[in-house]
C-alpha cells in the first residue's frame, strides 16, 4: 500500500500580489500506510492546502510529494492517476453531487479513471455498502436524499475509485451525533477491510482520540508536532497554546493530576478514564 512522504514542502498563496500568504512552510512528513492519521490545526493553519497536496490538486511551490518514494510531479500529465490512488473527500462533499441518480454519481470517479462498464456497477455497490447507503436509494436523485445520506453518497463517490489512501477534510462537519458516528465508522471500516490508509482532518479532538493512530499538528503553516496520538496528546499544554482543544476527558485527567492525584496522562476516552479513576477508589 501507499506511503506518502512530504519533503520540505512549501506553498504560497497569491504569490507576487499584496495578498501573498505563506500557507505552508518546510513541511517534512511521512503518512504511513495502513493506519489512520489525523491532521489537526485551527483554520488557516494550512490543513486544507496540505490535504490537497496529497492527491496533487495543489502543486507545492517547492519541495517534493512522494508516493512510495516516487515524486508525483515527475510527470504532471500522469497526475490524474495519483488522484485515484489518493482519494480526497473535500469539506461538505455533498455540494459536488450532480448526476441524475445516486448510482451515476458514485460511478463518476471510476468512469473518469477508465474502469470498464461491467466493473463499475460492482464498485458502486461496494462503495454504497461501505458507507451504509441503502441500495434502494441508488436510483433516486441525489438531491432527494437527506443531508446525512447526501454526505454518504458523496463519500461513496470517492470510495468507488478504491483509493489506497482515503483523505477526508472534516467528513462529519455539521452532522448530528448519530450522523457523525455513522460516517466515522464507515470510514474506519473502509480502511480496516481494504487495508487502505485513512487521513482525517477534524476539529473534534474526541473523534481524533478515538479513531486515529497517529496525529499531525499544524500551526501557522508549520509542522508543530507529529507522531503517535499518545505522544501528541501528552503535550496538551502546547496544543492549548496554539488555540487547539484537547479531548474533554484528557483535560479532566490533567486537572486531576494537577491537584496531586496520580493518574496516567494518556487517557482520552470515557472507558479508559473510568478504569483509571475506578482504581483510585
Amino acid at each position: 500500500m501507499a506511503e506518502i512522504k512530504l519533503e520540505n514542502v512549501s506553498y504560497v498563496y497569491s504569490e507576487g500580489t499584496p495578498f501573498e500568504i505563506s500557507a505552508l512552510e518546510g513541511i517534512n512528513l511521512t503518512i504511513k500506510s495502513g493506519i489512520v492519521t489525523g491532521i489537526i490545526g485551527h483554520t488557516g493553519s494550512g490543513k486544507s492546502t496540505l490535504v490537497q497536496m496529497l492527491n496533487g490538486l495543489v502543486k507545492p511551490a517547492s519541495g517534493k510529494v512522494l508516493i512510495d518514494n516516487k515524486d508525483i510531479w515527475e510527470n504532471p500529465k500522469e497526475i490524474s492517476k495519483v488522484r485515484s490512488r489518493v482519494g480526497l473527500v473535500m469539506q461538505y462533499p455533498e455540494y459536488q453531487l450532480f448526476e441524475e441518480t445516486v448510482r451515476a454519481d458514485i460511478a463518476f470517479g471510476p468512469k473518469n479513471m477508465g474502469v470498464e462498464e461491467k466493473d463499475i456497477e460492482e464498485l458502486v455497490l461496494e462503495a454504497a455498502d461501505f458507507v451504509g447507503l441503502d441500495r434502494e436509494l441508488l436510483d433516486k436523485s441525489p438531491f432527494d436524499l437527506s443531508g446525512g445520506q447526501k454526505r454518504r453518497a458523496a463519500i461513496a463517490g470517492i470510495i468507488a475509485m478504491r483509493p489506497e489512501v482515503l483523505v477526508l477534510d472534516e467528513p462529519a462537519a455539521g452532522l448530528d451525533p448519530s450522523g457523525r458516528e455513522k460516517i466515522m465508522q464507515s470510514i474506519i471500516g473502509y480502511g480496516k477491510s481494504t487495508g487502505a490508509s485513512i487521513v482525517i482532518v477534524s476539529h473534534s479532538m474526541e473523534d481524533m482520540a478515538r479513531f486515529c493512530d497517529e496525529i499531525v499538528v499544524l500551526s501557522d503553516g508549520k509542522l508543530l508536532m507529529s507522531g503517535k496520538k499518545e505522544e501528541v496528546f501528552l503535550r496538551s499544554k502546547e496544543l492549548v497554546s496554539v488555540g487547539l482543544d484537547i479531548p474533554q476527558i484528557t483535560s479532566v485527567m490533567n486537572m486531576l493530576s494537577q491537584s496531586g492525584i496520580k493518574v496516567a496522562s494518556n487517557i482520552y476516552t470515557v472507558e479508559d478514564a473510568l478504569s483509571e479513576i475506578y482504581k483510585l477508589f
Binding site: S80, R83, F98
Partner: protein, 272 residues
C-alpha cells in the same frame, strides 16, 4: 481566493474621487453629450485635450487607461476603414481603380475616433475607476429615486445589483471548490475537443446552480426575517449630500459644454 476585487476601482485621493457619486453620474452624462457637440477641428482638439485633463485630475496612471482602451481598438479601426473608404466628398486625396479617398472621409474618421475615445475614457473615469460598484449602486438608487413614481423599479434594481456584488466573490470561491472536488474524482478540464470540454462543464455547472438556488432561498428567508418588504417606507443609513465642490464641478462641466458649442461657430476647416 480572498483577493478578488470587483470593477476597476482604482483607490486614490484625487479631485475626481472626492466627488459625490451621483454627481459623477451626471457629469459622465454631460461629458458624453459634449463628445457629440463637437463639430470642427478646434472643438475636437479641445475635446481630445479635455480627456487627458480628466485623466490628470483623477490621478489614474495613463498606462492603465490606455490598456482599458485596447479592447475597443477593433471598433476604432473599423470606424476608420468605414469612414475613410465610404465617405464621399469634394476633395479627392487618393485615387486608385475603384478606391476613392476624400479629405472629408479622413477628417470624419479622425473625428469619430476622437469621439469614441473620449466617450470611453470619460465614462470609465467617472463610472468605474473613481467609484466603487457599491457606491455606484447607491448613487443610482438615490439619483433615480424619483422615477419610482412612474413605476420604474429603481429600488429593486439597486437591491439586485447589491446582492449580485455581494455574492460574486462567494460564487467564484465556490466554483473553485467544486472544480477541485470534481478533479479529485478524476474529471479533466484541460484536455479534449470543444464539445468534450462543454460536456465536462456539467459537473461544475449543476452543483453551482443547485447551490445558487439554495443560497437564494436562504437569503430570501433571512431578508424576510429582517423585515425586508421592498423599497416602500425604507430609510437609509447613509444619505448622500452634495457639497460645494460638486456644484463647482458641475459648473465647470457646463462651461466646457457651452465652450464647445461656441467653438463650433468658428469656420475653420472641415465641419462635421
Amino acid at each position: 481566493m480572498k483577493s478578488i476585487t470587483l470593477g476597476q476601482y482604482y483607490p486614490a485621493r484625487s479631485l475626481m474621487h472626492g466627488l459625490d457619486p451621483r454627481m459623477k453620474i451626471i457629469l459622465a452624462f454631460i461629458y458624453i453629450i459634449c463628445s457629440f457637440v463637437a463639430k470642427n477641428i478646434i472643438s475636437f482638439g479641445v475635446l481630445f485635450a479635455s480627456a487627458f485633463l480628466l485623466i490628470a485630475l483623477s490621478k489614474i496612471p495613463l498606462s492603465l487607461i490606455l490598456r482599458s482602451v485596447r479592447p475597443i481598438l477593433f471598433i476604432l479601426a473599423f470606424t476608420v476603414v468605414l469612414n475613410v473608404f465610404w465617405t464621399k466628398g469634394e476633395v479627392i486625396l487618393f485615387e486608385w481603380k475603384f478606391i476613392h479617398i476624400y479629405y472629408e472621409g479622413v477628417m470624419t474618421a479622425l473625428f469619430m475616433v476622437v469621439r469614441i475615445f473620449v466617450m470611453i475614457v470619460g465614462a470609465s473615469l467617472f463610472l468605474t475607476y473613481t467609484i466603487t460598484p457599491i457606491a455606484l449602486t447607491d448613487a443610482i438608487e438615490q439619483l433615480f429615486g424619483p422615477l419610482k413614481k412612474i413605476k420604474i423599479p429603481v429600488h429593486e434594481f439597486a437591491m439586485m445589483m447589491t446582492i449580485a456584488l455581494r455574492f460574486i466573490p462567494t460564487f467564484i470561491d465556490e466554483t473553485d471548490k467544486i472544480m477541485s472536488a470534481q478533479k479529485a474524482r478524476g474529471a479533466d478540464f484541460s484536455n479534449g475537443s470543444l464539445a468534450k470540454r462543454a460536456k465536462v462543464l456539467i459537473p461544475i455547472l449543476i452543483p453551482l446552480f443547485v447551490s445558487a438556488f439554495r443560497r437564494a432561498d436562504e437569503l430570501a428567508i433571512a431578508m424576510e426575517c429582517r423585515c425586508y418588504h421592498g423599497g416602500d417606507g425604507r430609510t437609509r443609513m447613509t444619505i448622500l449630500h452634495y457639497r460645494a465642490r460638486d456644484f463647482l464641478a458641475l459648473i465647470a462641466m457646463l462651461l466646457f459644454f457651452a465652450g464647445l458649442l461656441a467653438l463650433n461657430f468658428l469656420k475653420i476647416g472641415y465641419t462635421m
